[in-house]
Symmetry: C2
Subunit: 114 residues, 2 copies
Amino acid sequence: MISLRLQIRLGVDTRIGHGKIQLLEEIDRTGSISAAARAVGMNYRRGWDLIDQMNRAFESPLVTGTTGGLGGAALTQLGRDIVAHYRAMEEKVSQAATSDLQAIEELLERARKA
Amino acid sequence: MISLRLQIRLGVDTRIGHGKIQLLEEIDRTGSISAAARAVGMNYRRGWDLIDQMNRAFESPLVTGTTGGLGGAALTQLGRDIVAHYRAMEEKVSQAATSDLQAIEELLERARKA
C-alpha cells in the first residue's frame, strides 16, 4: 500500500500535518482535549503540547479552553479555517498525485516480483 | 514563509521524502555516496542507511556500488524512475496546493497582526 502524507512548514520550526489536523478535528467533535488526544492515540500531555505549538506559531489561539484540563475546549474560527484549508488542499493534492503515485506503486510491485 | 513537504509511505515503515530523493539525486550527480551525503548535510553512515532502507523496501537496488564505501555509486533505472516520478508529482502537487497554502499563509499573517 502506497500513500501520501503532507506537511505544511511554517518558518523553520513549526510543522502542521496529519496528526495535528486530526487532533483539531477531534477537539471540534468532542469538545475536550483529553478525549481528542485519546481518539488519535496520544496522551493528554502530547495533545496539549501540539495545540500549544500551533497557538504559539499563529500567535493567536486555534483552540480555546486549553487551561482547564478537562472538557470545554473548542476550535476558534482560525482553527476551523486552517482545518478546512488543509483538508481542501489534501483533496486537490491527492488527485494531482494519483498518476505518479500509481507509477511508483507499479515500480515497487515489479521490483518485488523480479 | 510557508511551504509544503511530501512524504510517500510504502507499507507501514518505509517513507520516502525530500531527504532521500535529494540524496539519490546527489548520488546520480556525484557518483559517490560520501560526496552525496556531504552535499545534503548527512554523514556517510546516515546516507548509507537511508539507501539501504530504500533498497530493502523495493527488494531491488535503487543504488548500486554501495559496498565499496568510496566512489563508484550509481542509480539503477529503478532509482532514476522513482526520482523522476517523485519530482513530477511534487510539481503537480505544488500547483494543486497553491491556493489553499496561500490562504493558510494569509490566516497566519492576519492572526499575527491581530
